[in-house]
């Protein structure tokens, strides 16, 4: 077995706040192979975005990585210096954010921004940089890229801006793209267009993709594997079809049951009672136990995640053959 492109080992990112330490990411481990799409799913506050930011060393203060390793192609990014990280960011690992206006500078033309991104990592001429920018725009499905290069971000619609952001991410044919909710703000038809482009590109270029989202539906259609996060930990991970078909962790099961289109029309949804615990005040042991119908005394000790392909962090998992709401 070859070494994975990205290996995250026991990653811990904490935020020191006045009210106490928030363990936003609390021992997260996963692997990502070349060309693979991993969906990192969780609700607000589960730590999924901070996990993505930690990989690239983009966590803002008071957040700090306090433990674990992020091995990218064998190199630990946690201990790598800022200079080394800058050489990797944008070139070998690209990032796409939810709001493309976070990526784009509103007062510079798209051409200026894209050419600058090319020149930041490659010693090429301006004409060559411009040609590559134009090609990248064409690849994400922007019509008449030559004219659009001269435009400013505000002249694009939301979906087009996100395409420009993706085009910038693709400029250096990165090995890995970290995408943080990139289609959440977009309309359904535009989202489908973006997913289509991303799917095609990953297949053609062998780029690995970490897709951070709250939307199980998008992940189920796009990803090869999925990791479900709750309160800073991965609670279940596995090949996407296995997890959707036979969720073992009660939280995963609850999430799937909460999706309206998987329930009979008009019948009350099987929702998860209660709400996510405050990250300042996590219960002892399994963080999900206050909301879990299966919890008992054993749950006051945190279960481990087995090293299997389909693994879960639970003492009382659902049976593999018991179908979820998918029936």
């Amino acid at each position: 077995m070859t070494q994975p492109l990205l290996r995250v080992e026991n990653l811990q990112t904490h935020f020191a706040t006045r009210a106490g330490t928030v363990k936003a990411v609390n021992g997260v481990s996963f692997d990502l192979r070349r060309g693979e799409i991993l969906g990192l799913v969780g609700e607000s506050g589960s730590g999924k975005s901070v996990t993505g930011q930690s990989i690239l060393g983009l966590v803002d203060l008071p957040g700090r990585i306090v433990g674990g390793r992020v091995l990218f192609d064998g190199e630990d990014l946690v201990t790598a210096g800022e200079k080394r990280l800058r050489a990797i960011r944008g070139r070998r690992i690209a990032m796409i954010f939810q709001d493309p206006m976070m990526t784009l500078n509103p007062v510079l033309s798209v051409e200026t921004q894209m050419v600058e991104a090319v020149l930041a990592h490659d010693k090429v001429g301006r004409a060559e940089a411009r040609r590559r920018s134009r090609d990248a725009l064409g690849r994400v499905g922007i019509a008449s890229p030559d004219e659009r290069l001269a435009a400013y971000p505000h002249q694009f619609s939301g979906g087009m801006r996100q395409r420009v952001a993706i085009a910038i991410a693709l400029l250096h044919s990165p090995d890995l793209i970290l995408a943080d909710e990139p289609t959440t703000a977009l309309d359904v038809t535009i989202q489908a267009q973006i997913l289509f482009e991303v799917q095609t590109l990953c297949r053609e270029t062998g780029t690995a993709l970490l897709w951070v989202t709250h939307d199980l539906a998008v992940v189920s259609a796009l990803a090869d594997r999925v990791a479900v996060m709750y309160a800073g930990r991965i609670v279940e991970t596995g090949p996407i079809a296995d997890v959707i078909q036979a969720p073992r962790h009660p939280y995963t099961r609850g999430l799937l049951d909460s999706v309206p289109s998987r329930n009979r029309r008009g019948v009350p949804l099987r929702s998860i009672p209660g709400m996510a615990p405050s990250a300042l005040d996590l219960p002892q042991g399994c963080a999900f136990q206050p909301r879990c119908g299966r919890a008992d005394a054993a749950c006051s000790v945190m279960p481990d995640l087995a090293p299997d392909a389909h693994a879960w962090r639970c003492w009382h998992p659902h049976d593999a053959d018991a179908q979820g709401a998918a029936a």
Partner: protein, 332 residues
């Protein structure tokens, strides 16, 4: 058929932007600048029966929120009429209109933006019924407590401020505020869109329980097809300010008639076991400042005919209870 609780006919809303000084001067010099008019909603007809849930679906900019705001009385229509229990709101004396408006309440998307952060929950929920003399001031606390229990909040939290609640609880406060004046009709504008999936399910269940308990009628506006499919009896799909298809929900989701409805349903993400190949419709929604002639969907439609770019199809009944605005239905 019994009288519908709400009927809108030919309802339109235009937002106009007047020219500024420089532009007026430029026009005098012969430049081609005009007042720009945005047709947010154009000629919408819709009836809602008592106790019914009508889902209103569409992408951003299609006018679904503007339609909802006109129904709730927050925007004045440019054209067309709103009939409340058979009476045209324009024909009512101010007092009567006031009363009708009170019966139609609205629940918004972002509870943090729609709740006053400096008021306590007791005031947020209790203010309107006291002002409208539905509840004497000395009984306000009781009424608030009852409202909070109705929506599943602990009345003990009455003295707290909105920021002390979670997103789902805040949405419950917003619902309690709407319900406090004893409405018959709720306009829910993306009321579950900002919530996490597990919390969203709780709020959807709450809406369905309240419908039974309080005999409410809903206009449920959402971009999320799964939510609308789950909760609504009939579904209307809007595109560029017009309803393009209106049908009973199960029939519409089983076999959409309009090409836009079809495309929208195909592309809605669903939790599936198989990986999907996305095959999107091309292009984007045209600007409502400059809508295309003929059928608004024709530039993106895979079945467009020459006729589609010249003549706008009317919303017609293509089968009992099913309405669609597409020329393809004439071919047969």
């Amino acid at each position: 058929m019994t009288q519908p609780i709400l009927a809108v006919s030919g309802l339109s809303k235009r937002f106009e932007r007047k020219l500024d000084v420089v532009e007026r001067f430029a026009r005098r010099l012969g430049a081609a600048v005009d007042d720009s008019v945005l047709h947010a909603v154009s000629g919408v007809d819709l009836t809602v029966a008592e106790g019914e849930v009508v889902g209103l679906v569409g992408e951003s900019g299609c006018g679904k929120s503007t339609l909802g705001r006109m129904v709730a009385g927050l925007l004045t229509p440019s054209d067309g009429a709103i009939h409340w229990r058979g009476t045209d709101l324009r024909d009512l004396p101010p007092a009567g209109r006031h009363e009708a408006n009170l019966k139609i309440q609205m629940v918004f998307q972002d509870p943090m933006a729609s709740l006053n952060p400096r008021l306590r929950v007791a005031d947020i929920i209790g203010e309107a019924p006291v002002v409208h003399r539905l509840v004497p001031r000395r009984n306000a606390a009781e009424a608030v407590a009852e409202m909070m229990r109705t929506v599943g909040l602990d009345p003990g939290y009455m003295r707290r401020y909105p920021h002390q609640f979670s997103g789902g609880q805040r949405q419950r406060i917003g619902i309690a505020r709407a319900l406090a004046v004893k409405p018959d009709f709720l306009v829910c504008d993306e009321s579950v869109a900002a919530l996490d999936v597990s919390i969203q399910a709780q709020i959807i269940n709450l809406f369905m329980r309240l419908r039974e308990e309080l005999r409410l009628t809903y206009l449920f506006i959402s971009h999320d097809l799964g939510v609308v499919q789950h909760i609504s009896d009939r579904t209307a799909i809007m595109y560029l300010g017009r309803i393009v298809e209106l049908a009973p929900t199960p029939e519409l989701f089983a076999a959409p008639n309009h090409p836009y409805a079809k495309a929208l349903l195909d592309e809605a993400p669903r939790v599936t076991l198989e990986k999907r190949r996305f095959a999107p419709i091309r292009g984007e929604i045209p600007s409502p400042l400059n809508p295309p002639a003929g059928c608004p969907f024709h530039p993106r439609c895979p079945h467009a005919m020459p006729r589609c770019s010249q003549e706008r199809p009317d919303l017609r009944e293509v089968a009992p209870g099913r309405w669609s605005a597409c020329h393809l239905n004439d071919a047969f």
